[in-house]
């Protein structure tokens, strides 16, 4: 399948380019497909290409030595990933996995450098895309380093819990994130940690508080 001009137009990097410019860039782009849960990039490997999502969704994440996953970003159509190593020459700073079937548009590192030389106004778009990414990561760093999110999530669970006999209020992870003043990604990780501590059990659409005292301890230790 040929790289579609309409899809290229929707990519932030190429915003504002005319048809002739897009045609010249299209020649340098290659397609890559991946199936659900397939790894697209591995952290630490040398970076050869910059990728744009044409269709589907890619999850960019880091994995700790204990195997815990921290999502850094969810990359949707029109957005890019693996930009940083392509521009600074270092290895991939994170891994990327397809969340479903994906179609990616790739550009080799050298070709991206050539595009920037030939179309210097693209640099403004690149700066905007990277600035947006940095802003998101600064917020995530703040959450992970300075805030005791797990305690606040524990408190929310305490306050919102019902006895299961009547249809009580239900909360999405996004709503819990808003209540805790944090990112959804951090709530997901906090729930997993609370489960590992034995305080709760995630049972499909239910969060069951299995050990109120443990939950209380976590809440107090984090306040």
């Amino acid at each position: 399948m040929a790289v579609q001009l309409e899809l290229l137009k929707g990519i932030l990097y190429f915003s504002g380019l005319d048809r002739t410019e897009l045609e010249s860039i299209r020649k340098l782009i290659f397609e890559k497909t991946a199936g659900r849960a397939e790894m697209v990039l591995l952290e630490g490997e040398s970076a050869a290409n910059l990728y744009f999502v044409a269709s589907g969704v890619v999850k960019v994440f880091k994995t700790s030595a204990e195997g815990k996953e921290q999502i850094l970003s969810i990359v949707r159509p029109g957005e890019s990933f693996n930009d940083v190593p392509v521009f600074d020459g270092g290895p991939n700073p994170a891994s990327a996995r397809a969340m479903g079937p994906v179609l990616l548009y790739g550009i080799a590192k050298n070709d991206m450098a050539a595009i920037l030389l030939e179309h210097p106004h693209i640099a403004t778009n690149v700066v905007k895309a990277l600035a947006r990414r940095v802003r998101h990561l600064i917020a995530l760093v703040e959450d992970l380093s300075f805030r005791h999110v797990i305690g606040r999530v524990a408190k929310i669970l305490f306050e919102q819990a019902g006895d299961g006999t009547v249809g009580g209020h239900r909360l999405t992870q996004q709503e819990m994130a808003a209540m805790a003043g944090t990112a959804r990604e951090v709530v997901g990780r906090s729930l997993k940690e609370l489960e590992e501590e034995g305080a709760i059990k995630l049972d499909r659409h239910r969060i069951i508080i299995t050990d109120e005292r443990a939950l209380q301890r976590i809440m107090e230790a984090s306040s």
Binding site: V57, G164, R170, L171, T172, I209
Partner: protein, 71 residues
């Protein structure tokens, strides 16, 4: 009936990102709106909620305290 994610048809723009990520193939697009396939038993992985760019699909959790006798 098994619990299924909540779909807000007013917000859904039929982009289909959720359809692609559902590992149980439990979602489909009908008349430009996402629809849950009832025969599928959702395991509440919440991937559909994560990827939805318009907030049209959500996976709310019921939070309950386990009764002492069932612990």
């Amino acid at each position: 009936m098994a619990e299924i994610p909540v779909i807000d048809p007013e917000r859904c723009d039929g982009c289909g990102l959720c359809v692609g990520v559902c590992h149980l193939n439990g979602l489909t697009i009908v008349s430009d709106i996402v629809t849950f396939i009832e025969a599928v038993e959702c395991d509440w992985c919440t991937d559909c909620e994560i990827v939805c760019p318009t907030g049209a699909i959500s996976c709310p959790f019921e939070i309950i305290i386990q009764a002492v006798e069932t612990r």
